[in-house]
Symmetry: C2
Subunit: 343 residues, 2 copies
């Protein structure tokens, strides 16, 4: 098996820098589009054969060093009892957003095998079909990020409802975060038991908080989740979008790998996180619209700086954009494999 | 005259930390709402008596230490020849976004007195009505931020069109930025000549770039604009939203004051900018939803850390949100004035 990705996660020696991309299975791939043409997004997530099929597409097409389960971060939120829909324009819509004690009380803590069996079925198919070619990454939204969707009812510009709850009713917010953490820990453990060989926690919106609010209202739950998941023995990646101002706090989360966005120089991020950590990132997804030779320059720059960390996994600083030319994504992966060779 | 704000801008000794708020004239004020009830937003911007009236409201109601001209950052963009409309849902809409050489060629460099006379008329009324009570701040969008609106046709999530132009046609992008810079420098000079005693450049979207792209495609034009404006002899404030990852570059802009958002600890920001700079900021606008005593705690923390800079002007890290309770804004200003007294 190509275990370069897993070795890099553990900070072990590797013969080259491994690479995968957030949202590597997605709309920029014509092969994905043709699967999606016959089925809506949520149905795709919940149909194991199809979810497995689109998970495998980028492994074959891009030759990345890891597969990531095709799913949505809001799947466990729906399983907690909220109604989830996807609108083409607005993205995810959760009706009846969580704003009161009663609405938090109504949420259940789902059982993965019973309430999200398709997730485990997808992983089991993938384990067979990947046949140990590359490792499989499982994932979940981090507690805070899931909470923002639940409180806002979808994506948000200012996260005002979330911050209002934090600021005006911090005990209710804590109560909600506890319930989410109690959901995602067994959810991720189940993914690992079914065959996921690494886990990524996505904290897409944690960067919208001040450092002190991050420290008080986000970090404790991430730390708790990571500490419990570490018992499963697989690497835990913690990705925080817009992380530059809160790296000092983020490093306390206890993750094996820290995923960073593109708004900070990866060398600066390593200085703040400390050279003993493994980092993942951080090409601007829009840099995939550069001419090929300039993509190579940016890849080289990030690889060069990544050498200063204990380990480096190449990735984008956020998900692949739907408009991205596939050939540029392939060029990027090739550049990482070419220029990321260790002497 | 209360010149505390101007003294702080220049890094001179002050008896207390001055305070004003981005978007202090706005929808959260019932007095503003009642003016807006009879007139649409753009007409309000273009009617000097009304624009002056709403500019003065927060000075009287909040007792802030500076007034800022009520206007919109896209006024000079409209004067360059683009059609500007405001939709309640989507915000500003610029039809026929700039994507080609021909569309850049079609843009004119407006004359402020001729093409935006209402701006200067508003300032002249304000100078009379303020009667030197507090200084008046003029402003403009920074070149990059104005370019994003012009290229995207409004606000954006990923700024893909802007980055595509930067990445695929950097000469066209430079050409556009030169034209915008050539517009805003005389525009701001005219504001100063009409009576503005300080200038703020708003770079709301510069934080969406990688540090290297900021350095190559944003900084040269900001530097140029600031260098030329400095000849006018008034303090220049440069506000960059989402600045944490690019502070090392931002400090090269040559501004008198650096405005920072709330996603970074102001103490950390000062460490990066250097103790010789004056900083402005950086309370999270959502912190105005905290209970009064907790607003005071946050104000005290920022004031305490602000002491480490050469000067500090208290402000939010972004504009006041329309939903903000007025009494909390007043409480914040009172807290700054109370706890910001120098011994």
């Amino acid at each position: 098996m190509n275990d370069t990705f897993l070795r890099a996660c553990r900070g072990e020696e590797v013969s080259y820098t491994p690479v995968w991309l957030m949202r590597q299975a997605g709309r920029y791939l014509p092969q994905y589009q043709s699967v999606r043409a016959n089925v809506d997004f949520l149905t795709l997530c919940k149909t194991p054969e199809l979810a497995a099929q689109v998970t495998l597409q980028p492994v074959d097409i891009l030759k990345v060093d890891a597969a990531i389960l095709f799913s949505d971060i809001l799947i466990p939120v729906e399983a907690m009892g909220m109604r989830l829909e996807f609108s083409d324009k607005e993205g995810p819509v959760l009706s009846e957003p969580i704003r009161s004690r009663a609405s938090v009380d109504r949420l259940s803590i789902p059982d993965t095998e019973e309430d999200m069996p398709f997730i485990l079925a997808t992983i089991r198919i993938l384990k067979k079909e990947l046949d140990n070619k590359v490792p499989l990454i499982g994932f979940s939204g981090a507690p805070f990020t899931l909470a923002t969707y639940m409180i806002e009812g979808g994506t948000s510009k200012n996260f005002l409802h979330t911050k209002k709850m934090i600021f005006q009713n911090p005990r209710l917010f804590d109560f909600l975060l506890e319930k989410i953490t109690a959901t995602i820990v067994p959810y991720l453990s189940a993914q690992i038991k079914a065959g996921a060989q690494a886990i990524q926690l996505f904290d897409t919106w944690a960067g919208m908080l001040t450092p002190v609010d991050y420290k008080n209202f986000v970090l404790p739950y991430v730390k708790k989740a990571i500490a419990e998941l570490k018992k499963e023995g697989v690497p835990i990646i913690y990705f925080v979008n817009d992380c530059a101002g809160i790296l000092k706090e983020i490093k306390k989360a206890g993750a094996d790998v820290f995923g960073i966005d593109w708004r900070i120089d990866i060398g600066d991020a390593i200085k703040k996180l400390g050279k003993k950590v493994v980092v993942q990132g951080n090409l601007d997804p829009c840099a995939l619209f550069l001419p090929r030779e300039m993509i190579e320059e940016r890849v080289k720059d990030i690889l060069w700086k990544g050498e200063y960390a204990k380990g480096h996994i190449f990735n984008l600083g956020h998900g692949v954009l739907p408009e991205t030319p596939v050939e540029n994504v392939i060029a990027m992966v090739e550049a990482v494999h070419k220029f990321g060779q260790k002497q």
